[in-house]
Assembly symmetry: C2
Homo-oligomer: 242 residues x 2
DNA sequence: ACCATATTCAACTGGTCACTTGAATACTTG
DNA sequence: CAAGTATTCAAGTGACCAGTTGAATATGGT
């Protein structure tokens, strides 16, 4: 560069950090984070995503384009609809580490949350190592309380699908002598908390898992997918979770 | 939760994503990213950080407080000055993966950049595996072209400190029969590019490393630190790098 | 105690972003 | 080819954010 004026250097620096900031900007609106979190679990249509985030379709579409400009998600036309998905497996890992980083801040909230909740489900949450050992020892059953569509589009092998809103239908055959561990979408999702509260009120031994299906998948557990099955519009069954 | 109104659920969801967005907001201003990148290499004073980012001290202070509110950095008073550092080793890892995620977007820029640059240093950059094998085979020398203060505060074992602005003083003893690999702060830093251009103009075989010292450190290489040595105010020697 | 230095606070301004609304585009189905 | 559905575009509004300036706070040295 010797004979190089310094201007292009600053230009490069400015441009580089501007590009980097594009990713940051994509992650600074809560609505986009909700969308991204849903997309980390599988591909979805615009309408479904708008429902999850509580946005108008037009608004959700704009948020999605911000995410796409940041190269975090990509879209593809499939028949009548346009489906969005994360652009890369790395995005899932990156977003997960962001959530883990925020978990520290969240801990204060979780304490406050457990105080208004009937059962301190969050504080007794089950970590990965413990859950694995519980399952291996055969003294725990893991139930996946997400809506059944999500279970179908990808779940950890060995878990049983019991959507939260159908939990009462399956109470009869749940073992009273084993511990029940509820699995949902992760620490930002409260489906498992609700399930645990219900089960405990019935006298069963239940706890929630700290991590969600996506985190387990990232840590290398085998995942089963029902291929060909696609998530169509149906936000029903999602009782404020995530 | 059974007997729980759904309002607190939405409150939790909203609060959780708001907290997560705090981190995103901290990363959406280029100036803050520059600051964070410098902090990933070691603790600094406000004045130094302001110099790196090209901001007024008051402005840099405000940016630092945004970063602190997001729990990404922490501050400590040391005598007359206040030094900032990353709050957690995980922050370095997280920020690194963010940069890697952006690298894809950057590739287009790197091509454009190499076109105006005398030598296509970026395109021939050396990755980790290759560099390790080159060093093991004894056919490459690795020079650390960052300012000497940064080298002192932490560098990879086996590398030699040759600050870019003193490169001409060390030309005599650089081996002509080996390949010279220049190491700097990473792909967002152009110090190594400049060094390579100088060396090539002199007929030496030189390439830059893709990654910076921080990335190498994260991947497990032994790091040497001169303890007790602290980075005092001195932006001099930083020729537009980062 | 006083001054110099380092950092933060407070008030202000221009620009950018999120959300709304109404229209336009693109594809599928009859 | 027409009608319907899904998504995107375009314009407008209110809120928030980055940067500036000048003053306030806090520490160390004399």
């Amino acid at each position: 560069m010797v004979s190089f004026p310094s201007a292009p250097d600053d230009l490069f620096k400015a441009y580089a950090y501007e590009q980097l900031a594009t990713i940051g900007k994509a992650l600074c609106a809560p609505a986009r984070l909700v969308i991204l979190n849903v997309l980390c679990q599988g591909e979805r249509t615009v309408e479904v995503l708008a429902g999850h985030a509580g946005l108008s379709v037009a608004n959700a579409s704009q948020h999605l384009q911000v995410l796409r400009r940041a190269n975090l998600v990509e879209s593809e036309r499939q028949g009548n609809k346009i489906i969005y998905r994360v652009a890369d497996r790395n995005v899932v890992g990156f977003f997960t580490s962001m959530k883990e980083l925020a978990a520290e801040r969240m801990s204060s909230l979780q304490v406050a949350f457990s105080e208004i909740s009937a059962a301190p489900s969050r504080l007794a949450a089950v970590g990965r190592e413990e859950l694995l050992s519980l399952v291996e020892a055969g003294i725990a059953v893991v139930i996946d309380v997400r809506p059944s569509e999500e279970y179908r589009s990808g779940h950890i092998a060995g878990t049983v699908s019991i959507p939260l809103d159908r939990l009462s239908d399956h109470l009869s055959w749940l073992p009273a002598d084993k511990e029940i561990v509820a699995l949902c979408r992760g620490s930002y999702c409260i489906l498992a908390d609700k399930a645990v509260d219900i089960l405990r009120e019935l006298g069963l031994s239940a706890r929630r898992a700290i991590d969600g299906v996506v985190e387990w998948e990232l840590s290398g557990l085998p995942v089963e997918r029902e291929t060909g099955q696609r998530l169509e519009a149906s936000v029903e069954g999602d009782h404020g979770g995530q």
